[in-house]
Amino acid sequence: MAVETDRELVAAARAGRPDAFDGLVARHWKPAWKAAYALTASHVAAEDAVQEAFVKALGRLETFDDAKPFGPWLRRIAVNCALDELRSRRAARAREQRLDPPSAQEPSEDGWLWAALAELRLDRRAPIVLHHVLGYSFDEVAELLRLPRGTVASRASRGLAELRHSLEVLDAR
């Protein structure tokens, strides 16, 4: 049987076919989770964010422009949900309970970098993670964060400087 495209699954989900949205969840859960994890550094918060994202996506399926790809649309919702998670008290609790990033359990360059990122203020961490780690353009980040592009770029730049300083201090030890 041919694998259905996202567009076909979306159309089927809109038509009420039982397994269609399940197919979209199965296909897009992992990339959305990874994006959320990159922002939250918490598997628990990432799961919450992605779960919320799928609930929202389900609710907005009728308004989804199916001329566009489903994955990036869903990931944007997930990123926004992850940012909401980070801003909320709920996220504060999740941070307390978070698992350390995997590499932080065995100290390595990546582990230190994750830790340094987690120490950044959210307004600096978000543009860095979105642009430098997840590969969104500054224009896309600006849209996601609802900020002017220049603000995003300057916050990312300040965050980078802070990170660079942290890691240079570390390397000098």
Partner: protein, 192 residues
């Protein structure tokens, strides 16, 4: 030597863990813990047995008032009713965290799997639990509807307690997909 921070950040994407692998790691950790006496794990297993028992009788609860918001009466114990399977043992913390109740913007955590609601209020909770090879999802909103994502193994949904204080729980079949906004009672029973 100056740190090429941008290059290192780009490489960071490859170190994001695989969520499936994380579950595996937690499971292995739980198995390791289970080899030694562990009160928390023992408690979880007791809860598992209790929940499984509750599951068999849950559908018997009746609610004559239909489509009201999820509402837990004063001093009513909010229970998560679902079957806890072997894979969940390793994800106990995550599962428990999902029992989150929101009231008027204030979030409290239901721990461990039960908590007394001190005031009459509309609560919201979202649960994701793994069971066997599948995934059980329970999506609930604080509104008068429930929007589960179907096509997955049985979803157990509980609504507000009835006048007798029983919380009503129902099994939504895996092949049931409810449009957003569909009151679950209607969806399951074809109208009330």
């Amino acid at each position: 030597m100056p740190v090429d921070i941008e290059e290192r950040l780009r490489g960071l994407a490859a170190t994001i863990p695989d969520p499936d692998e994380l579950v595996g790691r937690r499971l292995r950790a739980a198995v390791a813990r289970s080899r030694a006496p562990n009160r928390r794990l023992g408690r979880l297993l007791v809860i598992a047995a209790t929940m499984a028992a509750a599951l068999t009788t849950a559908a018997a609860f009746a609610d004559s008032q239909g489509q009201l918001p999820w509402k837990f009466q004063s001093s009513h114990v909010v229970r998560l009713t679902y079957r806890v399977g072997p894979r969940e043992v390793g994800t106990s913390r995550a599962v428990a965290r999902r029992l989150t109740c929101a009231r008027a913007g204030t979030v409290v955590t239901c721990w461990p799997l039960a908590r007394t609601a001190r005031t009459a209020a509309t609560y919201q909770f979202v649960v994701r639990a793994t069971r066997g090879l599948g995934t059980v999802w329970i999506f609930a909103t604080g509104k008068s509807s429930l929007a589960p994502i179907g096509g997955l193994p049985p979803v157990i949904a509980c609504r507000r307690p009835s006048a007798t204080g029983h919380q009503r729980c129902e099994t939504v079949r895996a092949d049931t997909v409810l449009p957003t906004g569909t009151p679950i009672y209607d969806a399951v029973h074809g109208g009330s």
